[in-house]
């Protein structure tokens, strides 16, 4: 039964991910991204990372995909005619794809654990573990990340400001 849940979420995620790449329409692709993220959140729950699953849904599925949809509808992107690819680009894509597949296969097949996973509840299951780590060992990164968000906000305001007088 537990394996069935894993297989369900895994295949659901991969199919939706393929949908992002294959969909011609950008809105449909964004919807596929949303479903794919829900699938990944399900896998996170299977890994007992409940907080991360919740944050993934909140930040990604909630905020990021909504932002994507806004922009897709704002820009009204009609594809138009796209010129054919050059032979060099095709060869480079093929080479890069082959390298990626080889690297990922070795990563997947050679992933080994020295010891079996510890029994009992996972460390990542409790909110307390996150709070303890974030406010002791990772206190400086938390502050840096807050600063990054501030800089992002300012940067986005600057980028999206109308240029005065075409300057």
């Amino acid at each position: 039964m537990a394996n069935f849940v894993f297989l369900f979420f895994a295949s659901f995620t991969v199919i939706c991910a393929a949908g992002i790449v294959l969909n011609r329409n950008a809105v449909n692709a964004a919807m596929c991204l949303l479903l794919c993220l829900v699938g990944v959140a399900g896998l996170f729950v299977r890994l007992d990372a409940f907080l991360l699953a919740f944050l993934l849904l909140l930040v990604y599925a909630g905020a990021v995909v909504a932002l994507f949809l806004f922009i897709v509808m704002l820009l009204d992107t009609k594809g138009g005619t796209t010129p054919a690819r050059s032979a060099v680009a095709k060869a480079a894509s093929l080479g890069a794809g082959a390298l990626l597949v080889a690297g990922l296969a070795s990563f997947t097949l050679k992933g080994r654990l020295a010891a079996p996973p510890p029994a009992g509840p996972a460390v990542g299951a409790s909110l307390k573990a996150y709070a303890y780590e974030l406010f002791t060992l990772y206190l400086l990164p938390v502050e840096v990340v807050g600063f990054i968000l501030l800089i992002t906000m300012i940067g986005v305001i600057v980028l999206s400001r109308k240029e005065a007088g075409g300057a």
Partner: protein
């Protein structure tokens, strides 16, 4: 309650990453390329969470926490750049982004 092996999670993560990479290579629409980039980022977080769970440590989980924050910032800036580009050129096809070519 954990039955699937670490390698199963890593395989899913690798598959998602490869699909995202493929999307970046074959699609022409900047927005969809950006979505595929996000997919690659999420695939890497899945690997981190799986490693963290199977090793019984918190490091991967905390790292994913930071990745989520930075990804949100990245999306905001990236989309702002795309909108700014669209205002200048009236298109978001990558084939038309060639100002630095030649």
């Amino acid at each position: 309650m954990i039955t699937a092996t670490l390698n199963a999670y890593l395989a899913i993560s690798a598959l998602l990453f490869a699909i995202g990479f493929l999307g970046v290579l074959v699609r022409r629409d900047t927005l969809i390329i950006f979505m595929c980039l996000e997919l690659m980022l999420v695939a890497s977080t899945l690997a981190l969470v799986a490693f963290s769970r199977f090793n019984g440590t918190m490091d991967g989980n905390v790292f994913v926490f930071f990745i989520l924050t930075v990804a949100a910032a990245e999306v905001a800036v990236g989309l702002a750049i795309i909108v700014a580009f669209f205002r200048k050129r009236q298109t978001v096809q990558v084939d038309h982004i060639d100002a630095l070519k030649n």
